[in-house]
């Protein structure tokens, strides 16, 4: 008998261990996807929310902001912006609309995206829907 730690043994642990955890991961993926409807309120995803998400993507908003903590860290968190702006879609729309074209001297400023009224409404709906997702009570406070 020997306590030799052979390359074959190491290889078996790699293949066995990987397969093992890939399987568990797939099982958990199914469980998670099954559990999501209770948390994401997908019944509220209407045409406006869908349009809003597309506007969010097509203007690369995530290149400056975080949304549920993911994105860039240059501008405020937006998963709770609906609440921060006093549960008001109008406030969100007003803010986006009023961004100066040439920015603010010496300071960070959001670009003027020239969105249509329909798109503005969509973005606001999308951010409202996002604020209602059950994300384990994150962020810690209203400041995001």
């Amino acid at each position: 008998m020997s306590g030799a730690f052979t390359k074959t043994m190491a290889r078996n642990i790699f293949y066995g261990g990987s397969a093992f955890f890939i399987f568990i991961f797939i099982a958990l993926t199914f469980d998670t996807v099954g559990a999501l409807p209770e948390r994401d309120h997908r019944e509220n995803i209407n045409e406006q929310v869908i349009l809003g998400k597309r506007v969010w993507e097509n203007n690369n908003c995530v290149g400056c902001h975080t949304l549920m903590g993911e994105g860039a860290y240059f501008a405020p968190e937006l998963a709770n912006v609906y609440n921060r702006f006093g549960n008001s879609k109008e406030a969100i729309i007003g803010f986006i609309k009023s961004r100066p074209v040439d920015g603010i001297p010496g300071r960070r400023s959001m670009p003027q995206f020239n969105l249509s009224d329909e798109e503005l409404e969509g973005v606001a709906e999308f951010l409202k829907w996002t604020s209602e997702v059950d994300d384990a009570n994150w962020p810690p406070n209203i400041q995001g």
């Binding site: 052979t6 995803i45 995530v62 903590g69 860290y73 968190e77 920015g103 209203i142």
Partner: protein, 461 residues
């Protein structure tokens, strides 16, 4: 260099370094925008600069991985590359597609780019790191498939070693997991969840296999330690990588709407993720200490050891800092994440690509086993400048992050708004930008070192 077709790696490495320079320049632009908010506004808004910065990083690392594969697979397989012509054709396709994409980012507003590239047909744009137009993504898939085919055929017709096998598994995983980038449901929670199947399973999964394989190859070549020993280590390291890393994906599922059991699974398994990186450090130093020859390329050995140490610090230690869910509740999406991201990418992936370039380039340029003493000294200076600069970038961002969390997320009613806090911590952003310029100096020195002549160092052992 033993096989003529290995030469195909050279344009890949040159392109990688070129794009690396671009990445750093845009990093400096962003760093400046952090403190002088209207810098280059509205010509290059921050989101565009960031997109260029991160996309260039990904693309040049892919160039590096592909170059590394074209260099090491023929040597491992003891046969010429299956098709050097295909490799060269794919190089130009990838370079032109990449360049056009970057030009697109800079020339027109992102929304216009989305429109002209037909994003509506199959919307995949506008998600972090996956900003590329759908057509570019399809191009990436085609290039990846052609590349995989070329590498796989080479491995199949020649000697099959553990190094080339692990590399092939890593590259296949890279290509397959990228397919998740085409899944973009209307439901943001599902979108975010599967977005990580690309991002996490790349950088904390299959990319580590590629990293391990390249590191093992360079160590076999430079230390002369028995291949069996090195390959055994490689298997153990990548086994631990996947055993901890796959369920470690859970540390991204704490606050995006996914079930809360991920807080337990993610915390437990991602807390173990530093283990493979620690083993990699032990492995690299062990092998170099047990070396059976003195390889004349001291710079390459330095890069290899540097990779192991910095990957452990950046990915391992800085990752662990904020991976437990009770901690992450406060650190999530703050400058702490940025600090970790910078050092982890530099330590694990930038440095491994620079390692293989450092090892392979002298031979591809028709020199002996290594560059001249003078050139190597300069390269090692660039190593220290870039690495120390990156340590300071990470430390300053960590300090900024801690203050940000304290002011913005703690202290109850006294918590301050995001933009106010950003101004309060501007000092650390200035310091970070300073360290960024040191990094650029190191990078310039690195490029210059390629043009330093002198008497080449030959194999001595």
């Amino acid at each position: 260099m033993q096989y003529q077709s290995q030469m195909v790696a050279k344009p890949y490495f040159i392109a990688a370094i070129g794009l690396f320079i671009g990445q750093i320049i845009f990093g400096l632009i962003m760093g400046w925008q952090y403190v002088v908010g209207d810098f280059l506004f509205p010509e290059i808004p921050f989101n565009v600069a960031r997109m260029v910065h991160t996309n260039l990083l990904i693309v040049w690392l892919l160039f590096g991985f592909m170059g590394a594969s074209y260099y090491l697979v023929p040597e491992e397989s003891e046969t010429e590359l299956y098709s050097p012509k295909l490799a060269l054709a794919l190089f130009w396709i990838f370079l032109v597609a990449g360049a056009l994409t970057i030009v697109g980012y800079l020339a027109v507003p992102y929304a216009t780019l989305a429109q002209v590239t037909g994003n509506e047909l199959l919307p995949t744009m506008g998600r972090e790191f996956l900003e590329q137009p759908t057509i570019t993504k399809i191009g990436i898939v085609i290039v990846a498939l052609g590349f995989l085919f070329n590498i796989a055929m080479t491995v199949l017709k020649g000697r099959k070693t553990t190094v080339s096998l692990v590399l092939l598994i890593g590259l296949t995983g890279l290509a397959l997991l990228f397919l998740f980038s085409f899944y973009n449901p209307h439901n943001l929670v599902l979108d975010k969840m599967f977005w990580w199947y690309v991002v996490h399973l790349w950088v904390e999964g299959v990319w580590e296999l590629i990293l391990g394989a390249i590191l093992a190859f360079v160590l076999i070549k430079t230390t002369g330690v028995d291949r069996e020993v090195i390959e055994k280590w490689l298997y153990v390291i990548i086994a631990m990588t996947l055993i901890t890393g796959i369920l470690g994906t859970g540390h991204h599922f704490y606050w995006i709407g996914t079930p809360e059991y991920w807080q337990i699974i993610g915390s437990v398994f991602s807390a173990l993720e530093p283990i493979p990186f620690f083993m990699m450090t032990v492995f690299a130093f062990n092998m170099v200490n047990q070396r059976r020859r003195e390889h004349p390329n001291k710079a390459a050995v330095l890069w290899a050891l540097g990779t192991a140490v910095m990957a452990f610090l950046g990915a391992g230690v800085w990752g662990f800092l904020h991976t437990l869910s009770p901690v992450n509740y406060y650190t999530h999406g703050s400058q702490i994440t940025a600090a970790h991201g910078h050092m982890a990418f530099y330590g694990a992936y930038v440095m491994i690509v620079l390692t293989i370039i450092s090892y392979a380039m002298p031979m591809m340029r028709g020199r002996a086993a290594a560059n001249s003493e003078k050139a190597q000294v300069m390269e090692m200076w660039s190593f220290w400048l870039m690495t120390v600069a990156m340590v300071f970038i990470t430390l300053f961002l960590t300090a900024a992050g801690i203050l940000q969390i304290y002011m913005q997320r703690m202290g109850g009613d006294a918590a301050q708004p995001f933009m106010v806090v950003q101004e309060n911590i501007a000092l650390f952003y200035w310091l970070r930008e300073g360290a960024g310029f040191v990094f650029l100096t190191g990078l310039i020195l690195y490029v210059v070192s390629f043009f330093v002549g002198g008497e080449e160092r030959k194999e001595t052992a």
